[in-house]
């Protein structure tokens, strides 16, 4: 059976301990989380969570059903097969000297990324996009020496009208 990446989106109640319940469920059932992002949704009192998990479809379906059983989870769907917009944001602190800075800026431009901080020996780049784009930029910046990276993990919505 093939392990593929699945994107689950859950609407959850904004109550203490909810993140803990979700995380605990993944740990206990030995489901592997690749990323988990959470923030307020359009509805007051509800947050939207995007979880990327890898596993074969039966395993992921089991994850989805177990999540759905949590009382604080209003709704959860596997949107992997749907038409979705998915993005992640990364901050990359990369070594930069006077001589390499302009080369870095060129690369950043090509990726429509931004430089959000500059110091005497580094710059911090902010990039938004799908994981491939973020990964390619990281790859190109690697030769300059990467000091630190942080990523939000994927957030996703289905395209078009919501039912």
């Amino acid at each position: 059976m093939s392990d593929t990446k699945h994107t689950l989106v859950a609407l959850v109640e904004d109550k203490p301990g909810v993140l803990n319940r979700v995380a605990s469920l993944f740990r206990r059932r030995a489901f592997n989380i690749q990323s988990l992002a959470v923030g307020h949704s359009e509805q007051p009192g509800l947050s939207r969570m995007t979880v990327v998990v890898s596993g074969d479809s039966a395993v992921v379906e089991q994850v989805r059903k177990q999540l759905d059983k949590l009382i604080n989870v209003i709704r959860v769907s596997d949107i992997t097969e749907e038409d979705i917009v998915a993005r992640e944001l990364a901050l990359i602190k990369v070594n930069a000297t006077a001589s390499t800075r302009s080369e870095i800026m060129q690369i950043v431009d090509i990726f429509r990324a931004n430089i959000v901080d500059v110091s005497s020996d580094s710059v911090t780049v902010e990039v938004t996009g799908d994981e491939d784009k973020v990964e390619s930029l990281l790859e190109l910046l690697r030769s300059f020496g990467i000091k630190e990276v942080t990523k939000t993990g994927r957030v996703a919505l289905t395209r078009g009208d919501t039912q």
Binding site: E13, P16, G17, N20, K65, L70, I71, I74
Partner: protein, 571 residues
């Protein structure tokens, strides 16, 4: 009118129909206990260990279908509940556990007797709450009982800081719950029901596996109608015992690791399995790779997450078993399945799984059979875990729902005595027999004091083999007889009973069995019998770990000399 948190809690419990609470006091629940005498409708049963409170609440719930309630103080009181909560969770038993917590200003400061009990019980409760304000209390209790008792039942824990119990607020008991994230499907999808019925109507060798879901859903009549109308034989899981009368001509008894050889053969030969209110536990299915190789599987369960979890399912129906069966019975054709039934009858004859060895010593199976004979099956049997549990499951004939209470999913030794207390308190008119292992009995033996203090007339039969018997059996069969630390030094159980003011006798010989059981039954109160049985008796049939149901081992033939009971006494 303003009321304290403690009063609100008590009144909310009364609104939920609670009559009995099992618990132990402590600092963090003192305000609650101080309030209790204002509500004489709430009977509090003081146990000797919080594990006992949780198991008693569980036993009460299984015997009555009402949520059992237990109370413990913060910290060690709460953590002592954990095994009992996990046990209820695994067996889908409705329970509301109430724990005291340190006062709000102390939370998170590692205060005296602070434990993060909501964190600890997260994976073993259906849901849990920590109440941060007395105004939330009534609504929380309402939700807790609703969640515990509906859908697939389970334990819910409510953690209440000490100062919340003292806080005074307006009391209004809500008449509705607002749980947008809680849903369960009660009616099966009608198209699925029709499709499943079609499969059933076409099957040549159909077999019903009846699980605890039938008992929970109180669907035994519907099950019987289905089995009789289409002449489908029925096997039970361990926790499904009692969901279908075992003296019925269509009953093949228990399946699984220690199931009847003919029941397991039926599973392996069926062309259609109708699995109802069961979850394909590994002790029931054995190796799933070789499970029911010839069968399509219809799976009816209220929990969608159980569908396809352990075995592939061809036709799932998510819904309350009773509703689904009601709808399905209308679509089922009358059939006779004569060939299939006569094949099964032949296997039953060729594989007499309930025959026991001829032995001069006292055999545990004989003890169970005699308890059955003496009670004529009119008893609630509550078991320990291990060999005693399997013999109690095999050699008593269960004909009524809720007559067999046992720790299935978690397999908790020590469940027997407190759960029997709970069952007896819930059903005072029934005779309750606690079938205990000599090992397991000592894990919750302190509840003998609860029995005496509260006058709870349970009959206790210790199957005293001087061993952690089931483990010894594995050591014998799979670890070349290396009995590493399974031999038990035991106290004199009769003297122990006496010390707790409970009469008891020791039985060592066959001919003493019937008079002893009679004596226990004739006595009005609790009674203990220490049955000193053959120490190295094994449980058969048995599927070795990793084997499939096709590899069911039977008692070596040479050892069978007599059959104690003709199991085909039909209805």
């Amino acid at each position: 009118m303003k009321k304290t948190g403690a009063q609100i809690l008590c009144e909310s419990l009364i609104k939920e129909g609670v009559e009995v609470i099992f618990g132990i006091l402590g600092g963090a629940v003192l305000p609650l206990y101080d309030t209790l005498p204002q509500y004489p409708q709430l009977r509090h049963i003081l146990v000797r260990h919080e594990q006992g409170a949780a198991h008693a609440a569980d036993g009460y719930a299984r015997a009555t279908h009402k949520a059992g309630v237990c109370i413990a103080t913060s910290g060690p009181g709460a953590t002592n509940l954990v095994t009992g909560i996990a046990n209820a969770f695994m067996d889908s038993s409705p329970m509301v556990a109430i724990t005291g917590q340190v006062a709000r200003p102390f939370i998170g400061k590692d205060a005296f007797q602070e434990a993060d009990i909501t964190g600890i019980t997260l994976p073993i409760t259906k849901h849990n709450y920590s109440v941060s304000d007395a105004t939330e209390l009534a609504g929380t209790v309402k939700e807790a009982f609703y969640i515990a008792q509906t859908g697939r039942p389970g334990p819910v824990l409510i953690d209440i800081p000490r100062d919340v119990q003292q806080e005074e607020v307006e009391f209004v008991y809500p008449d509705k719950v607002n749980l947008p994230g809680y849903k369960f499907i009660s009616r099966g999808h009608s198209v699925q029901v029709k499709r499943a019925a079609k499969l059933i109507n076409q099957a040549q060798r159909p077999l019903i596996i009846a699980g605890r879901g039938i008992i929970i859903s109180q669907a035994h009549d519907e099950l019987k109608e289905l089995a009789e109308k289409a002449q489908i034989p029925v096997v039970n899981t361990l926790l499904g015992l009692g969901s279908f009368p075992q003296n019925h001509v269509l009953s093949l008894g228990m399946m699984g690791m220690h199931g009847m050889a003919y029941a397991n053969m039926a599973v392996q030969s069926a062309d259609l399995i109708i699995a109802i209110g069961m979850r394909f536990d590994d002790r029931a299915t054995a190796n799933t790779g070789g499970f029911a190789p010839n069968a399509h599987i219809v799976h009816i369960d209220i929990d969608p997450a159980e569908i396809g979890k352990n075995v592939r399912v061809d036709m799932p129906i998510v819904g309350d078993v009773k509703n689904v069966l009601k709808a399905m019975n209308k679509e089922i054709d009358s059939r006779d399945h004569l060939d299939w039934l006569s094949q099964l009858e032949q296997w039953r004859y060729e594989h007499p799984s309930l025959d026991i060895r001829q032995n001069d010593e006292l055999l545990p199976q004989y003890v169970i059979q005699q308890i059955y004979e003496a009670t004529r099956g009119n008893a609630i049997v509550v078991t320990g875990v291990g060999q005693n549990q399997m013999w109690a499951a095999q050699h008593f004939v269960y004909t009524k729902p809720n007559s067999f209470i046992s720790s299935g999913g978690l397999g908790t030794m020590g469940f027997e005595l407190p759960a029997a207390i709970g069952a007896k308190v819930g059903c005072p008119g029934e005779m309750v027999w606690c079938i205990a292992g000599d090992g397991g009995f000592q894990m919750t033996i302190q509840e003998l004091a609860t029995i005496t203090q509260e006058n709870i007339a349970v009959k206790i039969a210790i199957i005293n083999n001087g061993y952690l018997g089931m483990v010894r059996q594995w050591q014998e069969l799979f670890y070349e007889h290396r009995y590493v630390d399974t031999k038990l030094w035991n106290p004199d159980f009769v003297k122990i009973a006496e010390a707790y003011d409970i009469p008891g006798i020791r039985v060592k010989r066959r001919e003493e069995v019937i008079p002893a059981i009679q004596k226990a039954m004739d006595y009005s109160g609790a009674f203990l019998i220490d049955f000193v049985v053959e120490p190295e008796e094994n449980v058969y049939p048995m599927v070795p770990l990793g084997g499939s149901l096709s590899e069911t081992l039977e008692l070596p033939k040479a050892e069978i000399v007599s059959s104690h009971r003709n199991i085909s006494q039909k209805e």
